[in-house]
């Protein structure tokens, strides 16, 4: 499989409301900058992330899944 030059991975993040989601908020408040190809979903805890959700993301075309909590 060849990777085209401008290819960007589609990354789905499951972030815990109390830590990493808040951390992503803080990144915004601090005006930090990161690539726009991460899309964050809010979960009440990383333990809420059923492996089924991760598989579904891959099925639907995600290139990477981040679970953070």
């Amino acid at each position: 499989m060849s990777v085209t030059e401008n290819w960007e991975p589609k990354i789905i993040g499951f972030c815990c409301n109390w830590c990493s989601y808040a951390g992503a908020d803080l990144a915004g408040v601090s005006r930090m900058s990161y690539p726009a190809n991460l899309r964050v979903l809010r979960v009440p805890c990383s333990s809420r992330v059923n492996p089924q959700f991760i598989l579904r993301a891959f099925q639907r075309g995600a290139d990477a899944v981040l679970v953070s909590g």
């Binding site: 009440p44 805890c45 333990s47 809420r48 089924q52 993301a57 075309g61």
Partner: protein
């Protein structure tokens, strides 16, 4: 102090420790161990004969090693309650089975060597943490100050015990080594504070002011005395604080901006070598007494009590507030509040302010007869729950209970077990939903269907 004991609404349990906390906001259940004192306080008159006659002399913890107490003792003359307890570790009756002097001399018959620890259980709606601070252990970190080998190098708190009229020297400032009155007293600030390599990164906030007070007390109490203060900065942010510092300066305290690199013995005195960074020269000061302004750290055992009550501590071990500016008296655990130096270094005015703030938070909570619960919690579909209780094993909040339901199967009543969610305990984390293989558990507000729909939509 006496007010707290005498208030009809306050039940005071001294010599007691919290063993276990369970439950949740509005409904905590607390197990408290009241340690045996071996003195029946309900009949003890506090006359003091027992501790006068007790033959065992022990170094007084309360006086930080600068005084003696007995094995049956009160910490200081104004202790509340003003009745003694027996220190089992040092009492001859407990160590050798002989003695019994205190029991013999007690007119009231209050000494009871068979007293046992008592376990109490109380139900409360809220908890206030007020466990305070302990001083940074400078002896382990500061070799240049002698690792504690020089008796005349003391902490600010030891200085307080000496200058306190009911302390071991009855208010007289002395050199611990020979009891002589010190003439030249050196104070060193930021011992452990603002020192990343040896101590803590933070400023302890109180030391600038109490050092100014100590210097003032030396100059006031001891004729022809001199006070030298080695400092990094002088921080006086508080009402009437800068004025107080200026007053000490005008009384003749010598402030030297710079760190001390070494303290060594010079005859009967101590030589303090440091730098005056404003003049750019090395300095040496001969001292009779050196007082260290040691950093404030969290109280010993505060990590364990935080774990028992169930909230987090910060990188320095102080209790973590819910928000540094907007919610400084709250923890992230609903119903648990913070007061005083357990949250971070604080002086008395700030401590009192925070304690009153925490009290208002408590009153606001207790003023309600009922609390609305967050509806985003787990729910069980009993018709497909297999009763395996895998959910119970993963629940971090002990919110899943077993429940027996009866169903009609083929015309017959059948009893079976299913999981049941306690809505007061469930915090809505959703762990159980993942552990549930039949899919009987779902989290309201973050259902499987909702999350899958989100994944689908965002991957489009």
């Amino acid at each position: 102090m006496v007010a707290a004991v005498q208030h009809p609404n306050i039940k005071l349990l001294t010599y007691s420790e919290v063993e276990e906390v369970s439950g949740y906001i509005g409904n905590f259940e607390v197990a408290i161990r009241q340690k045996a004192r071996y003195v029946d306080h309900s009949i003890c008159t506090g006359c003091g004969t027992c501790w006068e006659k007790c033959p065992t002399r022990v170094n007084s913890e309360y006086n930080l090693g600068m005084g003696i107490r007995k094995a049956i003792y009160i910490s200081f003359p104004q202790a509340v309650p003003n009745k003694p307890l027996i220190d089992r570790e040092n009492c001859r009756w407990f160590t050798s089975g002989k003695c019994g002097v205190c029991k013999k001399v007690c007119q009231a018959g209050a000494v009871d060597y068979d007293q046992q620890d008592e376990l109490l259980s109380v139900k409360v709606g809220a908890i206030v943490m007020a466990t305070g601070y302990d001083l940074f252990n400078w002896q382990q970190a500061y070799g240049e100050y002698g690792y504690g080998r020089f008796p005349d190098v003391i902490t600010g708190l030891q200085f307080e015990r000496m200058s306190n009229a009911s302390g071991p020297t009855e208010g007289k400032i002395i050199r611990p080594s020979d009891g002589a009155e010190p003439k030249d007293v050196v104070f060193i600030k930021c011992v452990g504070s603002r020192d990343i390599t040896k101590g803590k990164e933070y400023c302890s906030r109180t030391c600038c002011m109490y050092t100014a007070k100590h210097a003032h007390q030396v100059l006031e109490k001891i004729p022809d005395s001199r006070a030298f203060i080695f400092y990094m900065d002088v921080r006086t942010p508080g009402k009437a604080y800068e004025e107080f510092y200026q007053r000490t300066l005008h009384e003749g305290a010598n402030y030297i901006r710079g760190r001390v690199s070494k303290i060594y013995r010079s005859g009967s005195k101590l030589m303090v070598r440091g730098a005056d960074t404003l003049l750019g020269v090395p300095v040496e000061v001969e001292a009779d007494l050196v007082v260290l302004a040691t950093a404030m750290g969290p109280a010993a055992g505060s990590d364990k009590i935080a774990q028992k009550v169930g909230f987090s501590i910060d990188k320095d071990g102080f209790f973590q507030e819910a928000h540094p500016k907007l919610r400084p008296m709250e923890t992230n655990t609903a119903g648990v509040f913070l007061a005083g130096a357990c949250q971070g270094p604080k002086d008395i005015p700030d401590t009192v302010a925070q304690a009153s703030g925490a009290a208002v938070k408590v009153c606001a909570l207790l003023s309600k007869s009922e609390l609305a619960t967050d509806p985003m919690i787990s729910q069980v579909n009993e018709s497909i729950c297999s009763g395996c209780l895998a959910c119970k094993a993963v629940c971090p909040y002990k919110a899943i209970e077993e429940k027996s339901i009866s169903e009609r199967v083929g015309g017959k009543a059948v009893e079976r077990t299913v999981a049941s969610v306690n809505m007061g305990l469930c915090q809505g984390c959703g762990s159980c939903t993942v552990a549930c293989l039949p899919g009987a558990l779902n989290l309201k507000g973050f259902t499987n269907e909702q999350l899958l729909a989100e994944v689908d939509a965002i991957c489009l």
